[in-house]
Symmetry: D2
Subunit: 381 residues, 4 copies
């Protein structure tokens, strides 16, 4: 099979861009049956020095300090946006105008309004898109969905989800761009972390109908490099009650100051006949419970990620051989290649990001008004 080579134009070369590159490099080997493979065409960053270093380290053919050159490059099929949220809208709209596929990191834009603009533009121009809600790529998350859909655990009754980390838990941690609403967006923990667990909640329990959220900035000021301090402009933690459209209920919590939590993205999903539990710090394990006739032998079963959970792929060398965040990005790149070479969409796309953004907005509004808020889930086309 001749695989279609798709030119990648990467904008940004920081932490998350590197994770994308790991995925680009693994994908062709890991998923030999997929029709497309990435070609690392050009990378940009804000200085030529950064861009050149990225090209060298990441293996891109060319580099530039002007992202517009990436967008307009005729050899670029896919524009990969790995910069802070403040630039998402402008870049994506340009990429859409240029007819490129858009691959964007979360949270998309500074607000759901920006995400909606992007999604509408993409819809109008019939441009495909994919957004980096990485945890959905976990084969165990796909197994969880399969278990929900096939009725193994009955109907979903409740979903209690969280995404806690502790990267800002030290009161002495310095002010970072993540604390700046003009760069990262008005949502803090919810924007960076909460959107992940919202994406999981929607995949497993359906669309969200109402939220009731409590949030706050525990450490209101943080130190700048010059020793002065600056006000933190978005929330450190949020707790929300959730009602799903299908009647299920639950909670979603998110914190960036949860001392001891490293990658605690997880959930308890309770069904009428069984239950699922997941904890991202044990990324390769899913817990499954089913009510059984022999009640003396019931219990949660620990299922380890295994090659069979990844149809068409050889990324996992064996069962319980570990799975890493970079592996999830490799699977995301597979989905990106499938998106680029077929009619189907693995999702989530920009429209989904706008919907998730609307849920985050509803949480922020609820936090301010202390009332239940129905997210204004946008209709895109």
């Amino acid at each position: 099979m001749a695989r279609k080579s798709l030119g990648i134009g990467l904008i940004g070369s920081g932490f998350i861009a590197r994770c994308h590159v790991f995925g680009y490099r693994q994908m062709p080997v890991a998923f030999p049956a997929v029709a497309g493979i990435p070609r690392l065409e050009i990378v940009s960053d804000i200085t030529m020095e950064l861009a050149e270093r990225a090209a060298d380290q990441f293996g891109f053919a060319r580099s530039t300090s002007d992202w517009k050159k990436v967008v307009s490059d005729p050899k670029v099929d896919i524009v990969d946006i790995c910069v802070p949220s403040q630039l998402h809208r402008e870049i994506a709209l340009a990429a859409i105008a240029a007819g490129k596929i858009v691959y964007c990191e979360k949270p998309v834009g500074l607000s759901s309004a920006e995400a909606k603009d992007m999604a509408l533009a993409a819809a109008k121009a019939r441009i495909k898109s994919l957004v980096g809600f990485t945890y959905l790529r976990n084969p165990l998350m796909q197994l969880a969905r399969e278990i929900v859909v096939d009725g193994t655990i009955g109907e979903v009754v409740s979903f209690a989800g969280l995404h806690n980390e502790d990267y800002m838990s030290d009161p002495a941690a310095p002010f970072s761009w993540r604390c700046d609403a003009g760069i990262a967006g008005k949502a803090g923990a919810l924007g960076d972390l909460g959107c992940h667990i919202i994406s999981i909640a929607r995949m497993l329990a359906g669309e969200i109908a109402e939220v009731n959220c409590d949030l706050r900035t525990v450490y209101a000021h943080r130190k700048l490099a010059d020793g002065t301090s600056r006000q933190v402009e978005n929330e450190d933690e949020a707790n929300a009650l959730i009602r799903f459209q299908n009647g299920a209920r639950g909670t979603i919590a998110s914190s960036r100051i949860a001392t001891g939590a490293k990658m605690r993205v997880g959930f308890d999903l309770i069904g009428t006949k069984g239950a699922l539990r997941f904890d991202g710090e044990r990324l390769g394990e899913l817990q499954l419970y089913t009510r059984e006739s022999n009640s003396g032998r019931v219990g949660f079963k620990t299922i380890y990620a295994a090659p069979g959970h990844l149809p068409g792929g050889v990324l996992l060398p064996g069962p319980a051989h570990g799975i890493s965040f970079n592996d999830l990005k490799t699977i995301e790149i597979r989905d990106l290649m499938e998106l680029a070479t077929s009619d189907g969409s693995p999702g989530p796309d920009l429209a989904d990001a706008a919907r998730i953004g609307a849920i985050v907005d509803a949480m922020l509004e609820s936090g301010a008004t202390r009332k239940w808020v129905a997210p204004r889930i946008p209709t895109i086309e």
Copy 2:
């Protein structure tokens, strides 16, 4: 040391009464240094047959089918109330009038108003009381409190607690007295289970200032023995946002239909310098995290319950030798004996039960009004 013998009058001989009896029988051996020991004087149940069988099995000297005889018995020092909530108020008021110490199971009364009546009467008559919030007796819960108080984990930032079980998770489970608001109270999962995690939250994170609760009865009707069905009168599950008086935030969840959850009373407590985690299904384990200078060696530590966690006691034969619900009741009886023989009060007493009831009431009210509600924490004396 001559230990003071205290006459016990037990009212009710069902499931939880038996757990009390396990405690009565173990306590004198387990806590040789405590000044009082229980003497199993008289037990009552609604028929003589039940009462006699209980006296025989449990080792009580006498039995009766009239609880009033227990209350008025001159040899009874402590009235132990192990009947459904509908009878708590009447019995406790009679016991208080008779000058007896009151030891009552939770939830106390059909409502916080009833609990408050009882607490006020006890205060007026200067009667001591103890309420069966069993999980507080876990030596690891006392260790958790010590860790919070001594500053090991800094100040409490958030508390996410739950008490989930699945005893009503099967839609086909029959209507039980627990579904009858006239017997069990207007609170369902919150009354039976939620009050436990509220009691833990208050001990570790302080008094609760506001709640915002979502609750519902998922299985609105259940079958009676005669095949007809009856409406369930209290909630199957509840999720609440919590604000503590000291500024901490959090959530409390409770469900009796959480398929797969057996005794899932637990919490994540996050502090500014560390964190604690607990899961009641591993009753003998507490997880402790502290931020440390050598960041390459941080992690949650699994602390097993050990003899040293129980000063003055020899109930635990060794570290990690297991701890059971009955053991917690044995420790509760120790506290009861200390209450009866000293000036101090280990708590929680009827006044605390009224306070916890007020929090449950606020949750019910919030569930109905869909608004934040400040519990009307009663002032007793």
Copy 3:
């Protein structure tokens, strides 16, 4: 049902005696359907002061400083031997001669020869006996046996067991009676701990045919109270290869210096169709794996101890409500009562103890000769 009251004569009032007493006190309440109940008749210790204190704390009617009075007491039906191994033989032979049921702690006697003497005497006199291999009483161990016997996991292929603790792991820990071969026996870790995992191995995988053992005393001298040091006379740790009579293979390890191990009595049992795992530090959990047709959903299932695992008993108030070492002793007393009131024998008896002792002896011999040794399993009767 009128339950038969059986007079208990307890010899020794230390640590393990107290655990027996917890069992005596719980059993009548926990197992209402069993035909016998214990009556705490008389307790002895080496001084009257100790004996009287024990009678007072434990609830025995009488006390004595002469164990022979216990054995000869006409009101005593069961002689309960809770003294160090050096006295087992003499006491048991006297009790057998007096026609009493013998209930003896492990390790039985200073050697398997002594245990065999006792077993032969009991057999000759048709005296019933029970030995305190406590972990066999765990309802999850009985479940494990049921799972093995009913073929759920196929035939047993291998058994890897251990019993590690760390009570002597500190090099500065003082010389104790457990280090004295004349009191505790010539086996150290194997005598105190290893015999437990041997008892489990035999129950689950059958009789042991051959052993090959490596053992040593890591801390050869320990300090006495007077500051001088004394040679430790038995091993600190042992590792053994095992061959079972039925063809299964495995290992048994035991250490009293395993830093960090508190009650680490556990095993991995591998069958042709499934597997079991157990760790005593999580006493209420059994892990079960079965090969299944849907290979994407296989995994070890965590089964919590539940009331249904204990037929005829109400000791466990609910599933996952914890189980403690004392609870195991309560179940052991149930077995003792059934032994005393029926024709069947729950085992293990003195003959089994002699067999286990023979296996320990073979391990010691193998350790000395560095060769495979076939235990001389005694034939009793």
Copy 4:
């Protein structure tokens, strides 16, 4: 920094070769500070079709069906041997003769004699080598070594290790090349799996002085594709007692028929002051225990792999973000690049493989003679 490009000649394109390729592709991005980077020059397999497909999928510039062309290729700096053991010796000797660096998968050669031949030839020719004992590359294994070396847990007292999997546990699993002593070597489970845990044991507890091993082939015959059955020529499982040169003791177990075990390579390492535990099915977690003055707060701490455990690398995006077998291979390729560009050797090399092979040989000999055997650890150079 200009990084030195090193030409890779890969021989074999199966399962493990692919894992190498994952490593080759990630390494330059993951370890920007390392002086060398791999250049995928040529790949061979037994047919041109296989070789070409591998070149295409893996990203090699050229392909061949003759491994000798790989060895003699002037653009090849490193010969990477990913074929069954029967071909190791011939290929490695040719590569050494051609002056290439040798990177070989385990088990090296059909026997330790073959491995020794290769190691001696490499030593004589001053050729560098690296062998794929992948688990040693785990940053947590390096942390474990650091913890042992810096005295945190005192001196090593015992090491109980295992590597169990279940890929041959189904009696109906077909005869594979792994069962053929002429292809895979005379060691079965020990050759494929046991060598890994031996490599870990040596790194953490030192060289092995004596072994005493019990082994067997449980399923003596397995079905061929044509329906006939063939005798399995090496062991399914092995259990060994171990004595280390420094006085520590322990056990090593290995099985390929351990139903339910997926990647159960792990150990309990006990020191005089602390302990370590590891289980490869939770590849990103190390458990550390240290005896502490506050005995009420001791316990095993779960340390998750974190960026700080990997100096100079950015492979891990964050703490507890997962780690996979492929990640270990990426770290192995880093070590290969460092080997190729510096004077130091990260090890293990062919000489180490010969030493590990000698230990496996001693186990096989012990299994046959039923006696303790001192491995004839070869002196190379």
